[in-house]
Chain length 420, copies 2
Amino acid sequence: MTVELICVGTEILLGNIVNTNAAYMSEKLAGLGLSNYYQTVVGDNAGRLKATLETAVKRSDIVILCGGLGPTEDDLTKETAAEVMGRKLYEDEKAWKQIVKFFEKRKLNLTENNRKQAQVPEESIILYNKNGTAPGIIMEAPECKIILLPGPPGELIPMWETYVEDYLRKLSPEQFVSETVKICEAGESAVETELKDLIDKQTNPTIATYAKVGEVHIRVTAKGRDEKECRKLIKPVVKEIKQRFGAKIFTTDENVTLEQAVVQLMLENGMTLSTAESLTGGMLTSRLVNVPGVSDVLKQGFVTYSNKAKRKYLGVKRGTLDKRGAVSEQTAKEMAKGGASQTKTNVCVALTGIAGPDGGSEEKPVGLTYIAVCIEGKVKVKEYLFSGERQKIRESATTAALTLLRHYLLECLTEKTFGK
Amino acid sequence: MTVELICVGTEILLGNIVNTNAAYMSEKLAGLGLSNYYQTVVGDNAGRLKATLETAVKRSDIVILCGGLGPTEDDLTKETAAEVMGRKLYEDEKAWKQIVKFFEKRKLNLTENNRKQAQVPEESIILYNKNGTAPGIIMEAPECKIILLPGPPGELIPMWETYVEDYLRKLSPEQFVSETVKICEAGESAVETELKDLIDKQTNPTIATYAKVGEVHIRVTAKGRDEKECRKLIKPVVKEIKQRFGAKIFTTDENVTLEQAVVQLMLENGMTLSTAESLTGGMLTSRLVNVPGVSDVLKQGFVTYSNKAKRKYLGVKRGTLDKRGAVSEQTAKEMAKGGASQTKTNVCVALTGIAGPDGGSEEKPVGLTYIAVCIEGKVKVKEYLFSGERQKIRESATTAALTLLRHYLLECLTEKTFGK
């Protein structure tokens, strides 16, 4: 069963708004196991909308349109869809009563063109709108079903939850279930190569990789009669992936981020963390703080942007800064050691580097970064060279710091040099 | 001249990611005066991509595709586009060298399938990628031009700014020039109401508003024979907008961010800054650090997430924390005062609040935030109640802090209580 989305609105084509409706509906459709092969955005233009819709009904089993159900002249979705399906419009009494009530409630003046919103195509299912004036509409034909939904997310989402989700579930022949394996310390192409044999012979479940900044996500999706059957199909594949990537996998939970995995690891081992950031300027700490409950782990963050601050708060030696420079292995080490002892935390992560655009040299180019991790007094440091704009370099450094922190934590935990 | 967008990626169709690339490019195209009538999203499927592209080249002058340029098997955009345009692929030496360098820099293992990314269609313009491995490509034919761009925004946006913007500007039949007025301290609907008369009677130049987190951008776009004529048309409109919004306008430069405007203001007045963050956890400092040259202004940032750290590094009184709580007007004030005196900076901004999801109460709900600004020893504090998820609350608080800092700076500067 294939579904296709058509979002109607010139404001999307002008970039005034981001098309979050498409993302919302896409995710819901995936969960229902309905294949969504096309998404189209067209403006409030009858000709182009009609052409788009005619193409859609030919190639898809269900076409969902959102937007263009308003009362104004340039709202044409309903009229166009009715024309394509060969249905006449009539005024639905209940819809009109609801519109009148909606306006009375808000003490707004009803205008004649609001009547337009009570018009519905004959032989259609009407989805009454509790959060706005435009009713949703479902038109069924043997070859294709068309669903019309209002554009404002505040109206579309409740209408989806109230009517559309159940309507579509009944149509979905099979159940789809996905599991995601998230990997750090490996690029997408390396992951692909490692999985090539599995991907080549994939049928059900399917395997897809998604590249994120410093991460790769592998999604395994199975279809079956019910969730139990899907999970059974997914299990051996995820097991195989786990064997291949081992500790590079930081979670198999779709909703867990890298920073969450790191915070969780530290919580489980009763460890505390401090940070000392230079080029990232708080970006690492900010990502950690986005994890609810991080306060049990994260005690203090320093943004020591100036050399003076590096000396005063982290005890970096003047000699180190003079001889080796602020961006050096030695400075990173002293930042991490100093941060840990200052804050009396088990662990401190320190970053120093050149974010650019200026400040680079032949010997120390823009992007050069040193990340040091101090665990129970022992410091390890790694050199990186990140590329891109200032912001990109800082984002890469932040993800690299989380990855390195996790790496050394696991190393120490297996060596049992500390723990619970 | 009509342009059409095709975004390629199953992750968009599955709702894994929101299609922000389409919004970014749409806004840019509108600014260039190029008509964007269709946006389509297709998955990593050769057949459907080919069909979509064939339709697009028939009805549009320029087709921009993004995504699907990766090294993996399911990245098919380049191969499909080359096929549609009847071009063979060959390995571009420079592109390959760049990929090799990219991997060496990062000490990552180059795999055979990375070679795929160095393949480019014959007779095409190659847009070398400084932020990733996939080069962008422009293929020109009499009836249609095709532009291929990488999917990650961190690669697409710089490539657009470096090559695509100028390339498209040259193709635009008329000259379009835009000026952007950026406003803080006002919501979009308030701005629109204030501009209603101008927007209603707009023809050339046109006026469009764009809502951002805590900001509203007004874009004034004029079309004319040349830039000079456009600027002449824009000038009086921008002047009128300036009169209406006054100090709420933080810049009239498209490329200047709110944090840049604040840093610039402090630089011009020889002021130094420190930050003391709790709920934002470094997000404010991180945004400031994204401004090149910030080191002359920003001296130190504290992420005092624990009460202990608030006392130790900012000198917040135990009594204040006990009686008023960590999230209180008094704590925010003491954080700002303490941060300034600790670091001997003219200015310190402090934030404390409840980011949620837990920690809220009847009397102190999730989203409650106090932002304090200490300038030359004088502290002002403001209470906010932000809504949304944890991340959204923290982003809103960060923008609010920059806005409040700017507001008080201007106040003090006009009162001449300090300065150069």
